[in-house]
C-alpha cells in the first residue's frame, strides 16, 4: 500500500462555505456513443483546494473543460457561482475573465517574452485601442512585474518562452492565470512531469497565491500523496465516474462519498485501484 506522509494541517484553509462550483449528475460524450463522464456530482466550496486524480483517459480534463465553458454537458447541470458555463452567454463570458485555466501543455505563446505572456492575463481589462497596439497601462505592467517576482521569475521577463525550463514555463502559466485576478484556478496536471522538489515549489506557490487572493483551485494530479498534502478535498475519477471523494481533516482522511469508510479502507481502495 502506498505510504502517505500527512501534514498536520493542510496549507489551505476553508475561507467560506459558499458553494462556488456545483455539478449535478453530469454526463458528457465526445462521439454521442461513449460517455467520457457518467453521472458526476461535485460541490466545491469557495477557497477550497480541490484535487481530482485518476488515470489517463478517465475524464479528468473533460471535467475541467466543462467548468470553464469550453465543453457543454450532454446531460445534467453545472453552475459556476450560480451561472451556467456557456461561452455565448454574456454573464459567463465576463466571468471567464476571472477563471484561470492552465491546460496540460500550459498553452503559452512560445514566440513572445515571459512578460508578454503574463500580460495576456490583463487583456480583458484593456480597451480596443490599447489591446490592438499592445499599449498596456503602467499599473498593469507593474502588476505583471509584481507577479513575476512572486513566481520567482524576476529578471527573466524579457526571455522568450521557448528558452525556459519546464519548471519556469509552469511558473509563467501560473503568473498569467494570477494576472487575471482570478476567483477560480483550473490546472490540468501542471506538476506531473516535474521532479519532487520543483513540483512542491510550484504547489507552494499556488498555495501562497490562494491564501492571498481567496482563490478556489481545482487541480488535476496523478499523485495521490501530492494531492493529499495540498488539497482540502480529493476526488478520484475512474472511467468517467467519481468513485471516491475524500477530505483531509487534520491527520484523518474522511470519506465524503459514502461517509462510512475509514482512512485505512480508503487508502486500500485507492492502492488496489492503482494496481489495476
Amino acid at each position: 500500500m502506498k505510504q502517505i506522509q500527512m501534514t498536520k494541517t493542510s496549507p489551505f484553509s476553508l475561507i467560506s462555505t459558499k458553494k462556488i462550483i456545483q455539478i449535478n449528475d453530469v454526463w458528457t460524450s465526445y462521439d454521442s456513443k461513449n460517455f467520457a463522464l457518467e453521472g458526476i456530482n461535485m460541490s466545491i466550496d469557495r477557497g477550497t483546494n480541490y484535487a481530482i486524480i485518476g488515470k489517463s483517459g478517465s475524464g479528468k480534463s473533460t471535467l475541467l473543460k466543462l467548468m470553464n465553458g469550453m465543453m457543454v454537458p450532454s446531460k445534467g447541470t453545472i453552475k459556476i457561482d450560480y451561472v451556467t458555463p456557456d461561452i455565448n452567454d454574456k454573464k459567463f463570458k465576463k466571468m471567464m475573465h476571472t477563471i484561470g485555466y492552465i491546460p496540460q501543455n500550459l498553452g503559452l505563446v512560445k514566440n513572445v517574452t515571459v512578460l508578454e505572456n503574463i500580460l495576456i492575463g490583463a487583456l480583458p481589462r484593456l480597451n480596443k485601442i490599447q489591446s490592438l497596439f499592445k499599449r498596456f497601462p503602467e499599473n498593469e505592467i507593474q502588476e505583471a512585474k509584481r507577479i513575476l517576482k512572486l513566481v520567482g521569475l524576476f529578471g527573466k521577463e524579457n526571455r522568450k518562452v521557448y528558452m525556459l525550463s519546464g519548471g519556469e514555463k509552469r511558473r509563467v502559466a501560473i503568473a498569467r492565470a494570477l494576472m487575471q485576478k482570478p476567483t477560480i484556478l483550473l490546472a490540468d496536471e501542471i506538476v506531473s512531469e516535474l521532479d519532487h522538489v520543483t513540483a512542491r515549489e510550484i504547489m507552494n506557490l499556488i498555495a501562497d497565491a490562494q491564501k492571498k487572493m481567496n482563490l478556489t483551485a481545482i487541480m488535476i494530479h496523478h499523485d495521490m500523496q501530492l494531492a493529499l498534502e495540498y488539497a482540502n478535498r480529493v476526488a478520484v475519477i475512474k472511467e468517467g465516474q467519481k468513485i471516491l471523494e475524500i477530505g483531509v481533516e487534520g491527520d484523518a482522511i474522511v470519506d465524503f462519498q459514502t461517509g462510512d469508510m475509514t482512512t485505512d479502507q480508503i487508502m486500500e481502495m485507492y492502492a488496489n485501484d492503482s494496481k489495476k
Partner: protein
C-alpha cells in the same frame, strides 16, 4: 521486386511512351539540334560589358517592382488569410474567401501581367500589379494553412480567458504564425524577383523586357549580361534569406540558438 511492382513500373513506362508520342517528343530531333546550342553558347560568351550599367539599372528596377509587389501583396494577403482560416471563422466566412483566393491563384503571374497591360498600358506598373495579385493568392493560402496548424493549446488557454477574437489574433495567432509568415515573405520576394524577370515578355517592364528583346533579335551576348545579373542577384537574395531564416525562423521554430557561420 514483386509482380505487383513490375506491373506498376510497366504502367508508368507505357504512360511515358504514350505521353511522349502525344507531345511530339523526339530524341533524334534533340540530338540533331545540339550543334545549334553550341552556336548560342559561343555567342553568349561574346559578352558586351558596356551593357553592364544598363543591366544593373534594369535589375534595380526589377527589385523595386518585386519589393512593392511583395509588400503590398502581403499586406492584402494577411487579413484575407485570417478570414480564410477554418479555426478562426465560421464556414460562411472562410468558404467564400477561400473560393476568391483559389480564383486569384488560378492565373499565373504572366496572365495577370497581360491583363494589367491591357488595363493600364505596358510598363512596370502593370508588372507590379501582376506581382501583387500573384502574391495575394499564394501568401494568403500559405498563411491560412500555417494558422490552421497553430498549436491549439495557447488558443484554448487564451480563448478561455474570454478575450475577443481580435485579441486572440493579435496575441496568439500573429506571434505563433510570425515565423511562417517571415519565411513566406522571403520565399515570395525571391520568387517575385525571378518572376519579374519574365514579365517583360508581355511588356510589363523589368529586366525581362531587355532579355526578351535581345533574344528576339538573336543578340545572345547582350542577353547573357542581363541573365548573369539576374543570376547573381538571385544568389545574393538566397544567401540573405538563409541568414535571416537562421536568425529568426529556425530558432523560434525549434527553440534553439543558431549561430551563423
Amino acid at each position: 521486386m514483386t509482380p505487383k511492382n513490375n506491373i506498376i513500373i510497366g504502367i508508368i513506362i507505357a504512360l511515358l511512351v504514350v505521353a511522349s508520342y502525344n507531345v511530339d517528343a523526339d530524341p533524334i530531333k534533340f540530338v540533331e539540334g545540339l550543334p545549334n546550342l553550341v552556336i548560342i553558347v559561343e555567342e553568349v560568351f561574346a559578352v558586351e560589358p558596356k551593357y553592364i550599367p544598363t543591366a544593373l539599372w534594369a535589375m534595380f528596377e526589377t527589385i523595386q517592382m518585386a519589393f512593392i509587389g511583395t509588400a503590398v501583396g502581403v499586406a492584402i494577403a494577411l487579413p484575407l488569410s485570417m478570414l480564410a482560416a477554418r479555426n478562426l471563422n465560421s464556414k460562411f466566412v472562410y468558404a467564400p474567401i477561400r473560393a476568391l483566393l483559389a480564383a486569384v491563384r488560378t492565373f499565373p503571374s504572366i496572365l495577370w501581367a497581360l491583363l494589367f497591360v491591357i488595363m493600364v498600358g505596358s510598363g512596370t506598373f502593370a508588372g507590379v500589379l501582376a506581382i501583387i495579385m500573384y502574391t495575394v493568392g499564394f501568401v494568403a493560402k500559405l498563411q491560412y494553412d500555417a494558422i490552421e496548424t497553430i498549436d491549439s493549446d495557447p488558443m484554448d488557454a487564451v480563448g478561455s480567458i474570454g478575450v475577443s477574437k481580435t485579441q486572440l489574433i493579435r496575441y496568439v495567432v500573429v506571434p505563433e504564425s510570425a515565423s511562417h509568415l517571415l519565411s513566406q515573405i522571403l520565399y515570395m520576394f525571391d520568387y517575385n524577383v525571378r518572376q519579374t524577370s519574365i514579365l517583360g515578355l508581355v511588356g510589363a517592364g523589368g529586366i525581362g523586357f531587355y532579355i526578351i528583346n535581345f533574344i528576339k533579335f538573336f543578340e545572345y551576348g547582350k542577353a547573357a549580361i542581363f541573365m548573369l545579373v539576374v543570376l547573381i542577384t538571385v544568389l545574393v537574395i538566397d544567401w540573405v534569406s538563409v541568414k535571416v531564416r537562421d536568425k529568426y525562423i529556425v530558432k523560434s521554430q525549434h527553440g534553439m540558438e543558431v549561430t551563423a557561420k
